[in-house]
Amino acid sequence: MSVEWNSKDLLGLDELSAGEISLILDTARAFKGVGQRNLKKVPALRGKTLVNFFVEPSTRTRTSFEIAAMRLSADVVNISASVSSLKKGESLKDTALNLQALHADIIVLRHSSPGASRFLASRLDSSIINAGDGAHEHPTQGLLDVFTMREHFGDIKGLRVAIVGDILFSRVARSNVHALVKLGADVTLVGPTTLVPKSLECLGAKVSHRIDDVLESTDVINLLRIQHERQRKEYFPSLGEYTSLFGLTKARAARLKPKCLVMHPGPINRGVEIDSDVADGSQSVILEQVSNGIAVRMAVLYLCGGGAGVS
């Protein structure tokens, strides 16, 4: 199978084929070695300018993109919403046109509006990398999660993956589901009926409202951050009730298969969706996910920046 990458942008995983997703993962595998060397730098994007344009706060994703870009020898500029002109009433379109006029080759965009990265991609010649657009997609997070699973299990096909939490408002869940379903995994979305409505089955995943039903059979359990403060209060009554119904407590973790991976995109709420000891336990790969994020983002920047990929 010979797949070529021919897009300047990465906007979401819904629109990618299984082959394109595998190409990114294979390329990331090759780049992972760079981070383990003494000299953690390759010249792939030397002379290119990358702008981290974050219109919504983020520390880990922005830092990860920044490190990835630096390892590829790109020049990096960070712009965040608090200092950018968006606060002064300039439109997203105008701000982006200005970035292009400043010769930004790659713009990494984090924005609260679904479709914001597509909005830019269709108007600019610069490469646009979606670093999270509202509840729509967070493709590099989905890729790094799948990459981590692949590192442990070799193949995604037939893998049983449970994603637990606020799926309705989660871009991480959407990107995970798209990639996993395309690669042949058996995905179950778990959470309260209000946050995991049956309509999510249209994405190709199963829906469950009982975490206890999936614990013993799943190969991966991916826990999403629950943000009650940002939710409208009608979705669930309290964090305490959420934890009692859906939290990965010690008792629940004891029922997982020994090889089951415990994942979380971060930042974690210890004691809410995941018990503190379980987060630090032997089955947890939460920090491995963070490290793998750099390799995956290097692969994405490399491919969208014009690299040929690794087969």
């Binding site: 819904d14 439109s91 997203l92 379109k93 924005h111 509006s113 679904p114 479709g115 914001a116 597509r118 909005f119 269709s122 657009d133 509202g134 509840a135 729509h136 997609e137 309705l168 408002f169 871009r171 959407r174 409505p197 309509s199 999510l200 249209c202 994405l203 409208r232």
Partner: protein, 428 residues
Amino acid sequence: MEKITKITNGRIIDPASGRNEIGDVWICDGKISTSAPDTSSEAEVIDAAGLVVAPGLIDLHVHLREPGQSHKETIASGTMAAAAGGFTSVVCMPNTSPVADSPSVIRWIHERAEQVAHVNVFCTGAITKGLAGEELAPIGSMVKAGIVAITDDGHCVQSHEVMRRALEYARMFDLPLLDHCQDYSLVADGIMHEGEWSVRLGLQGWPRIGEELIVSRNILLAELCDAPVHCQHLTSGGSVDLIRQARARGVKISGEVCPHHITLTDATLRDFDSNYKMNPPLRTQQDIDLLLGGIADGTIDILASDHAPHANYEKEVEIDQAPFGILGLETEFGLFCDTLIHKTKTIDLPRLIALLTINPARLLKLDRGTLAHGAPADITIIDPNLDWTVDRDASHSLSRNTPYHGTELRGRAVRTIVAGNTVWKLDA
């Protein structure tokens, strides 16, 4: 000397009288005459061979944006778009700036229309002050200023008590109430149909029940107050069922449907193009089929555009921040004719003309929408088989927010006559 015009050889379709025949229509001093006037004046002759001669089309749901939003549209540009779409009368919505909730604003619009409008402009007044849904606007004073209906369009009166009193009060003037049916608590920040596509795109859903609940409320209040309520821009198949059942037991409830809600589905938002963002939203093929069923059996007996111009820079923003709505007047007849007559064969041409002429005229008690002897000579000449392509850059509107650019349609108005004067005709 009298001005005489003779429209000859066309197929005259006048649903109000049931007339449907090849013949001549005479215009004498701005009035329709069904026979040759007894005069020596020489008549201007319009040859309508192969064309349909219909009463001037009426659109009872239009945003002309003046006063206050003249960067989107003006009374002059909006009525020119109406003329180019075959409409001789438009009914403008009160969500202007200032809101049309006082006789002074109504009078201002009438005076402005008198000076610049290309077609007849009828005004609606707000139900509540500032469209806030709380206190009744001075409805009686606005009736004296000439409003033809009340509506808070763009907003929906949430208080059932306020709605009940508005209906009771309007009944005193025999004044119809038009309602934009949207339950705020159920819809919240919804921007597209709640369904597979909202789930996939991560956009907030606007569920059908947000419309159906208010349609139900309106049916019960119309029954209680024995007063007419007209439900604007219906989108949900469930709303059609509710109205069908209510009408069967004699409730004074009616509904309108817009072209976009029977030609486009929620899947069109897949690329986050704000030209597909409307309120209420585009729904599913299943809803389209049920809306067509309602049009076919007469449950829905009025069609309208919800012409809603917005400047490019307002629409060209993040999808959740873009304003709702699209242009409608110039594509409306083509879309209805193409969809209802040619593609789905839902109704025939006389019925389509009725839904765009005498039916809205009856609801709003306008002395229009007919080719009866002595009626104002508002006439639309139609080529129901003309193939044409929508060109947004040829629009007479000040705005360009249409999703139909490049769409091929069959059926178009070719000449628009208001009070005996041709205000627009298609370049041959």
